[in-house]
């Protein structure tokens, strides 16, 4: 039968990992639908998906291009506010809003990139820190657009194709597909000449220039892409909760996303998902349930902070590489044992 090699080929396709993740997430959906899991579990995993998408954007910026942004949360918030305005005021539906909500954030991102990316990467880090403050203040004060501290609410039913209303389960389903799509697209990108150009400019600017890579242009690509994905995360946030306010969009969230990228493994897309699972999922699902300590504010954050410092100092490759490192250690132990046996044989 010729089925076996074909199956093997499908299973080893690089997209297979992403499909496994999607299947896992769909299982969560199923179990929530039949009420085996609480509805809060579904919410938590929805946010894991949202964080994964935002973190993939930062991963392209940091892991592949070597640039730090501390303003990610601001762009997520902006995407959320744009979504709210488009759906509430212009009464647009799901798919249209998905694309349109990204426009203004990406344009702002490109403008910011134009003025900071010609210089050393540290300027981007500091500029995004400043921009995050500007965003926060704007969200609070632009009451006509954002509703200020009282927030922005979507009062109408969110529909897809202007006809089918969406409930939590269908929104989650859509989010899983969006995640799968994003992972496949970004995988294409980073394994093409663009991804190689990113890595070259990250590791060696002279080599990049000598090989004809316009460093400024590629940095803009990376930053615009990360902004687009951050904005998409905001879209997912707003469509699910149907309410937005200025509070979540602060430095803490930007740093959480940074932690996800670092913990999961720079340059790894699967790793980003695991990072989100660890940094957002574990505190929500496990830590907060621990009596006394669990309820204290700052527990999740302390957990993240400890993890990122430990990982950076002792295992910078990130969580996603742990299985392969374990495999290498096992190989070494086996090789040592073989050598030892051979020596014994020779002696005899």
């Amino acid at each position: 039968m010729k089925i076996k090699p074909k199956i093997k080929k499908i299973l080893s396709h690089p997209f297979a990992d992403f499909v496994y993740i999607a299947i896992f997430l769909l299982l969560i959906l199923l179990l929530s639908y039949v009420k085996v899991f609480k509805s809060s579990t579904l919410i938590i995993f929805y946010f894991v998906i949202m964080y994964t998408i935002i973190s993939i954007g930062l991963n392209v910026l940091l892991g592949y291009s070597g640039l730090i942004s501390l303003g990610t949360a601001g762009f997520v918030g902006l995407g959320a506010y744009m979504t709210g305005l488009l759906m509430e005021t212009l009464k647009l539906s799901y798919i249209t809003t998905l694309f349109l909500s990204m426009i203004i954030p990406v344009v702002l991102g490109i403008i910011l990139g134009l003025v900071t990316l010609r210089m050393d990467g540290i300027f981007l880090a500091i500029a995004t820190l400043g921009i995050a403050e500007i965003f926060r203040k704007t969200f609070e004060e632009f009451i006509n657009f954002t509703g200020g501290f009282s927030g922005l609410r979507i009062s109408r039913k969110i529909t897809i194709f202007y006809a089918v209303p969406l409930d939590r389960y269908s929104k989650y389903l859509l989010a899983v597909f969006i995640l799968l799509l994003i992972m496949m697209l970004i995988y294409n990108l980073v394994n093409s000449k663009i991804g190689r150009a990113f890595l070259t400019m990250k590791i060696s600017e002279p080599a990049a220039r000598a090989m004809g890579i316009n460093i400024f242009k590629y940095r803009l690509y990376a930053f615009a892409l990360s902004t687009a994905l951050a904005s998409l995360g905001g879209f997912l946030y707003m469509t699910f909760l149907e309410y937005n306010s200025p509070e979540p969009w602060n430095l803490n969230m930007s740093l959480t996303i940074l932690t996800i990228v670092v913990i999961g493994g720079l340059k790894s897309l699967r790793g980003t998902f695991f990072g989100a699972l660890i940094i957002y999922g574990i505190p929500e699902l496990i830590l907060k349930k621990i009596p006394v300590i669990g309820q204290k504010a700052g527990v999740a954050y302390t957990f993240s902070g400890l993890l990122i410092i430990i990982i950076l100092l002792f295992y910078p490759k990130g969580v996603v590489n742990i299985p392969s490192s374990i495999r290498e250690i096992i190989k070494k132990i086996k090789a040592k044992r073989n050598n030892h046996e051979n020596q014994l044989d020779q002696q005899n």
């Binding site: 940091l62 070597g66 730090i68 501390l70 003025v115 900071t116 010609r118 210089m119 050393d120 990467g121 540290i122 300027f123 880090a125 500091i126 500029a127 820190l129 400043g130 403050e133 500007i134 203040k137 004060e141 002279p206 602060n250 430095l251 803490n252 740093l255 959480t256 940074l258 932690t259 670092v262 204290k296 504010a297 700052g298 527990v299 999740a300 954050y301 302390t302 957990f303 993240s304 902070g305 400890l306 990122i308 410092i309 950076l312 100092l313 910078p316």
Partner: protein
């Protein structure tokens, strides 16, 4: 309505506060080649400790501040020895991220250890005022300005005229050569992190009466300090100091005389323009990358 004198006075006071934080960042950058994004968070954490000294042990405010400074020196040093030193061989991006990890850790620990209730930290000097040309100036404000100027001056004198200061300048200029010439660069770096911690705490104590002691009390100062470093140029130690005052004065001028909602944003735009025209900062020297 605040008079011009009060505005100038307050700008100089804020400039002093920013300059202390900026000096800490400069010291660390030039001796460890690392941008310390956690300057503000460490200051916040130490400020909480000072508050505890004051509230739980009944220290007077000045005494709590003094002990806080000593503790911040120790914590700054310990931080270097345990975490920063291990990261010495990492890439520059990794080093920046480690300081961001510190931000996360400290911001997370603060509410756990110190609770979430708002905390009030009084001024060092009692809140009395005196008049200059018809405007009321606080003694405390004058004290803050004095402390900033004196501390920065003392450190400059130390840098310029002592052997240890020479060691710091050598390490800042070329670490490997300094090591070869017998400079204890690890001591220099330890000192830099300790002083940076102390300066950070002092600036936190100065701003505490206005902002309260809470996890994001240092956010504005952190950004202002980083921007001052970039604006002033990190080649020389005094660049960021002067830039800090320029930043503070510029900010107030724009907020009060141009626009109260967009003043800060305009300031950032101006600074971005300046940096684009002069990437080495107002007072820095252009560095040519050797290929």
């Amino acid at each position: 309505m605040d008079s011009l004198i009060q505005i100038i006075f307050r700008s100089i006071e804020m400039g002093g506060i920013y300059s202390l934080a900026a000096f800490g960042i400069t010291l660390i950058f030039r001796s460890s080649n690392m941008t310390n994004f956690a300057q503000g968070s460490m200051a916040m954490f130490n400020a909480y400790i000072s508050y505890i000294l004051m509230k739980s042990l009944g220290f007077s405010t000045p005494l709590a501040a003094l002990f806080g400074v000593i503790i911040s020196l120790v914590i700054g040093g310990v931080n270097y020895l345990t975490i920063i030193k291990k990261a010495e061989n990492a890439s520059s991006v990794a080093k920046q991220i480690i300081t961001m990890g510190l931000i996360i850790l400290l911001t997370g620990l603060a509410p756990i250890i110190f609770g979430t209730d708002p905390v009030y930290f009084p001024t060092i000097l009692p809140n009395k005022t005196f008049t200059v040309l018809g405007s009321a100036i606080t003694y405390n404000g004058l004290f803050n300005i004095g402390v900033s100027v004196i501390l920065v001056t003392v450190l400059f004198l130390l840098l310029k005229y002592t052997r240890f200061g020479l060691g710091i300048r050598m390490t800042a200029s070329d670490k490997e050569t300094a090591m070869l010439m017998g400079v204890r660069t690890d001591m220099v770096t330890l000192f830099a992190w300790a002083i940076a911690g102390a300066f950070g705490l002092i600036s936190a104590i100065m701003i505490a009466p206005m902002s309260g002691v809470q996890p994001n009390m240092m956010n504005t100062i952190q950004i202002a300090a980083l921007i001052s470093c970039v604006l002033g140029g990190l080649n020389k130690f005094w660049g960021p100091i002067v830039a800090a005052y320029i930043f503070a004065i510029g900010r107030n001028v724009l907020l009060l005389y141009v626009s109260s909602t967009w003043g800060e944003q305009i300031l950032y735009v101006l600074i971005i323009l300046i940096i684009n025209l002069r990437p080495q900062g107002l007072f820095g020297r252009k560095e040519i990358k050797k290929v």
